[in-house]
Structure formats: C-alpha cells, structure tokens
C-alpha cells in the first residue's frame, strides 16, 4: 500500500509547444482508488507512464511512499516497478504460446522472483478470477478471460500499486463489469492503491475519486472539489 506525491511534473516532446502533461501538485493516499479520465490526447497515457516509472522524468518529484522515481536510474525503476506496480492494459499484452499460469508468472520469473509462495498465489488468483484451467493456452481464451489472466498477473507479486489503462475498453459490457468487479475487489483485498484510466462510465462511477485531464492539465479532481 503506497501513497503518491507528484510535484512540478512537466513532460514535453520536441516539436510540441505545450507540454503533454503538466501537474504542479497531486497526492494519492495509500490504498486510494482513483479514476483518471479525459478525451484522447489529454495526457492520460503519459500520466500512466509517468507514475509507473515507464517514462523518465528529469524534474519534479514522483514520490511513492519515499521512493522518488525522478531520481532513480532506469534499471532501478525497472526493478522498483517489478516489485511495486501491477499493470493491466487495454489489449492485455499476454504472451501467446504460454499457458494462463505461465503468463501470470512470467514477470516474476523474469525477475527471478517466482518463489513457491508466488506460484501458489498465482493459482489462487487465477481461481479467484473464475478461470478453472490454469494450464489453458491464452490464445484459446475469450477477451474477457484474457483480461482476467492479466489482472491475476498484475496482482501476483502483491504490488502496492495497481495501474489499469483502459481495462474494459476492448470488452463487451458484461465482461467489462466482471473485470471491474475483479479489479476493484482484488486490488482492495491486496490493499493496493488503484489507478484506473478509463472512458467507461460504469467503471468510473465505481471509483470514489475522479480526476479529469484536459490538454495535459488536471481540469477536475473530485477530491479537491470536495475539499
């Protein structure tokens, strides 16, 4: 369970006049569930890349409970992300040719962290998502089932942060609802801070805090409005 403090974050690309993301200050409490919304091109993906350490930012602070990603070298960020962040993406990024269980365990294995406890947890998580055959090859699964595998993968190392980028966008309504349930339920059970980038009103409505991005800036923050 980690808390986030963003300060003076600005991401710009060469050739673009305005920064694609500019956040002077933002705080997430540990264990908070936050929805990030906005039109496409508003900076949502950049926001995900910045808070997950995928995109390197040279100035400001991205402080996750005392670890400032701005000051971490690339390999340290990789290491930190492997340990603390579970990612769920719109198009799953499962690896064909591997079974559901092997996909869930892949990040742990690549980090040489697939202990027997992790393996047990992988089986439990897969069972918890309602998948009955952990040995099933992922190519043979429906999209909803694939996303369940992806959620199990995100949670297998009990990360302090779960970040989901449009997790329901490529699913039908029914599957989307199952995924939303699982995401919120399992992240909550693990006590992880949950950040969900989404257009899906059904999913957004279930998250207590909502932030809206517009042209790289936070135009609305439901928590700030309350305060």
């Amino acid at each position: 369970m980690l808390s986030l403090t963003l300060k003076d974050i600005a991401v710009s690309y060469a050739g673009l006049a305005a920064p694609v993301l500019s956040v002077p200050a933002l705080q997430f409490a540990a264990g908070e569930n936050v929805a990030v919304t906005g039109a496409s091109g508003s900076g949502k993906s950049t926001f995900v890349n910045v808070v997950s350490g995928l995109e390197h930012v040279r100035e400001g602070r991205i402080d996750w409970s005392g670890t400032d990603l701005v000051r971490l070298a690339e390999h340290r960020r990789d290491h930190w992300r492997a340990e603390h962040v579970g990612l769920v993406m719109q198009d799953f990024h499962l690896f064909p040719g591997l079974s559901a269980l092997d996909n869930v365990l892949l990040p742990a294995r690549l980090a040489s962290a697939a202990s027997s406890a992790v393996k047990r947890r992988a089986r439990d998580l897969l069972a918890g998502t309602g998948l009955e055959r952990p040995g099933q090859s992922v190519e043979t699964m429906s999209r909803g089932e694939m996303q369940r595998v992806a959620i199990a993968r995100a949670l297998v190392r009990a990360p302090g942060i779960v970040i989901a980028d449009e997790p329901t966008a490529s699913l039908d309504e029914e599957s989307g609802q199952v995924i939303a349930d699982l995401l919120i339920g399992l992240a909550g059970a693990a006590g992880a801070t949950l950040i969900v980038v989404s257009h899906d009103p059904a999913l957004i409505s279930r998250l207590p805090r909502r932030i809206t991005l517009e042209r790289g800036q936070i135009s609305h923050d439901s928590k700030a409005a309350v305060i």
Binding site: L54, E55, H75, D78, H79, F95, P96, G97, L106
Partner: protein, 422 residues
C-alpha cells in the same frame, strides 16, 4: 526465460527453421570443403605410402605418379629392360618390382608385376595364393571377381576401343587384403606374361619374332590386332630379371635405407630415366590444390557473410515487430538486461543449433562423396575432423554470438513507454 524463448520459437516455427537451415547450409558448405580437401590429401598420401621410390622413363613426374600409384590409364614411355636388371642387382635395393600397365579387364586395371609387389602390398592374402604361374592373377580386395574366375585381358580400356588379347587367359588364384589405395581395384598378373603377350623380352631361342620393333612401343599406343602373341599359362614364374627382362613403364623400388633412397633418386634422375618420391610429387600437387581450396573457402566464407547479413536483417526486423512485446516485458518489470538476454539467447541458440547441424551435414556430405570416390577409384577418403576444425567451429560460434548482440542491443535500448504507445 527459457520457457518464454521456447514459446516464441514455437510460435515462429517457420522462420526459426528457415534461419536454422540457412546457417546450417552455410556452415556445411565450408565444412565439406575443408573435409573433402583433407580427405583427398590424407587418402592420396596413404595411397602413396607403399611407394617409396618410383622410377620410370624420362617424362612427366606427375604422370608417372598418377599412373603407378593411382593407376590412371595413360600412355607411358617404356624404359629399357636393363634398368630393371640394374636395380634388381643393386645392393642398396631391398626389392625392385616392375609395374606394367596398359591392359584392363571389366574396367579394372591389369597390372603386370612381380611376387615381391604382391607381398609388399598385402603381406598376407585375404584368400587364395600368390602368383606362381604365368596364368595366375591376384586381385585387389575391391575387385568383384571370385576365385578361379577367368580373365581375358583387354589391351587399353574398353572406352578407348581396345581389343582383347587372345593369347592368354588368366585365372584368379588369390585376393589381397584391403589397402585403401587404388590398387584395391587392380588385377595383378606376372609381368612375364604381359611381356610375352605383347611379344616383348622373349627368350630369343624360343621365339624368333621377339626381336622386332615391339620392344620400343608405348603401351597404350599399341594399335592392336596385327600381332597377337601367346603365352603359356602354366609356365612357372621366373623373376630372375637379369636373365630375361623387357621394357617396363615403371619400377617400384624399395630402398634399404633413407640415404639409399636419396642416392638412388639422384642416380636415376638423369638421362633416360626419371626417379620420384611419390610423396614429394603429391606435396607439389597439393600446393596447387591448396590454391583451389583457398578459392573454395573464399566462396564458402562469402556465402556465410551473405547469410550473416541476411540473418541480421531478419532479426532486426523481428525485434522491430516485437517492439510492443518487448515494451510489455519491460512494463511488467523485466529489466533491460533480461530483455537483452532473451533476444540474444534466442538468436544465438538458433544459430548454434544451425552450426551444429551444419557440421553434421558437412560431415555427411563429405562422407557420401568420399564413398563415391572410393567406389570409383578404389582409394579410401578418410573423412575426419581435425583440431583445426575446432578453431573454425569456435570462430563461427563466436561470430554468431557477436552477431546476436546487434538485435539484442536494439531491444535493450528500446524505451518501454514508446513501445507500448504504438
């Protein structure tokens, strides 16, 4: 990591097999060139091993070796019978065996010689007995005739439109053990019979007509038919060359010591005779062959470079196609070094399998070619790897390892965020 690589290989089976085969063929080409050249060198050196010193009439050294050691049919000039007489009497000579060729039977070269050469080539016979009478023949191990078979010698070879000698038919009495030389395909008969059949070196009292022009004729240049001579198949062999000897194209000399060998070569290298160490002549031949090998190796290496370039292109494209996958791996926490290792290991493993397959394939091809050469020429081509091949294998492996670094570095430097956006 291994599981992930295996899954990726399984998924790209076709491409993987294509790369594997490309590498295998490139390696096999170089390996078979090396092995063939070595086999030829070793095989011919072994074939020449039994022939310490060969003396013939003045002419081409190479032709003398090709005709005597490798039994390649060619018209060779004859030496006077006196040369054989002198050699047989020389105290420095352990034995001097005449070698008379020109006749053939069923595609096998028929060689007129002495009992000493039979004993030299095959101290113990595989079956049967040695030469005792003029009508006896001892065959090489690879001659497809059975004991007692009748041999009607043919002057020249069938392809040259030769005629059959009617004066004498030999009977197979013995078979030599395999020697791994072209002599395994030879039929050995008493030189005495050959002389008589060609009307040479007869006892003057018995055969009046023997004195005429025949003594000087070149073996294969004989325009057959007009003079048929006959010989007595049951006449005992007389190897007292001083008593009767006619012209021979070559004499194999076994000197008693190495010093004697050099002295003899010196002595018989002037005027009308030519003395050669077949090993030495072959060494000179290899020098020429060596140039051909360099050319072939250059072609083989050129092929390898082209294939390496094609491989590089393919793998770089493959990494490009896997941008998202590699990005995802990074996003899920795989470090850059893990990504590097995955890409490197995958390409290197495929290349290594290709290299191993290539060595196997190269060996197989060389072995098959060696087998064909053995069957046709009778001399064994020993196809074998040598220490030098290890260096080649190490070099190719190292090259593959270095080559695999290129796409691995590309994958290593790829930003995970950029990869996921696409």
């Amino acid at each position: 990591m291994i599981g992930f690589i295996l899954a990726d290989i399984r998924r790209h089976k076709g491409g993987t097999i294509a790369i594997l085969l490309l590498v295998a063929f490139a390696v096999a080409l170089a390996v078979s060139v090396t092995l063939q050249e070595r086999a030829l060198r070793l095989g011919s050196a072994r074939a020449a091993n039994a022939f310490d010193l060969v003396i013939g009439a003045a002419g081409s050294e190479t032709q003398l070796v090709l005709s005597s050691v490798f039994l390649q049919p060619a018209p060779l000039p004859l030496m006077e019978g006196a040369v054989l007489q002198r050699l047989a009497a020389d105290p420095r000579v352990a034995f001097a065996a005449p070698i008379g060729f020109g006749d053939s039977f069923a595609g096998y070269p028929l060689v007129g010689t002495s009992t000493a050469l039979v004993a030299h080539l095959s101290p113990q016979l595989q079956e049967g007995v040695g030469l005792r009478q003029e009508g006896n023949a001892v065959i090489g191990s690879a001659v497809d005739l059975s004991m007692g078979a009748v041999i009607k010698p043919m002057h020249g070879t069938a392809e040259e439109g030769a005629h059959t000698h009617t004066g004498l038919a030999y009977a197979v009495v013995g078979r030599m053990k395999p020697t791994g030389t072209p002599w395994d395909r030879a039929i050995l008969v008493p030189i005495q019979a050959v002389w008589e059949l060609h009307g040479m070196g007869h006892d003057k009292a018995e055969h009046e007509e023997a004195g005429h022009e025949e003594a000087g004729h070149a073996e294969a240049g004989h325009a057959g038919g007009e003079h048929e001579h006959s010989a007595d198949a049951t006449a005992p062999i007389n190897e007292d060359w001083a008593e009767h000897s006619a012209g021979v194209p070559a004499v194999l000399v076994k000197p008693k010591t190495i010093a004697d060998a050099y002295k003899l070569r010196q002595e018989y290298r002037s005027g009308t005779t030519l003395a050669v160490f077949p090993g030495e002549v072959l060494t000179r031949l290899y020098a020429t062959l060596g140039d051909a090998k360099i050319l072939l190796m250059a072609v083989a290496i050129g092929t390898q470079v082209l294939i390496a370039a094609a491989l590089l292109l393919v793998t770089i494209m493959h990494v490009g196609q896997r941008r998202r996958q590699i990005g995802a791996l990074r996003a899920f926490g795989a470090s850059r070094t893990v990504v590097f290792r995955i890409v490197w290991l995958q390409l290197f493993a495929i290349s290594l399998a290709g290299i191993l397959l290539g060595f196997g394939l190269g060996y197989l091809v060389s072995d098959v070619i060696g087998g064909i050469v053995s069957r046709q020429n009778g001399f064994t081509m020993p196809v074998a790897f040598a220490r030098g091949d290890l260096a080649f294998a190490a070099f190719v492996t190292a090259f593959a390892a270095v080559l695999a670094v290129v796409p691995a570095v590309l994958a290593y430097r790829q930003s995970p965020a950029a990869a996921l956006k696409g």
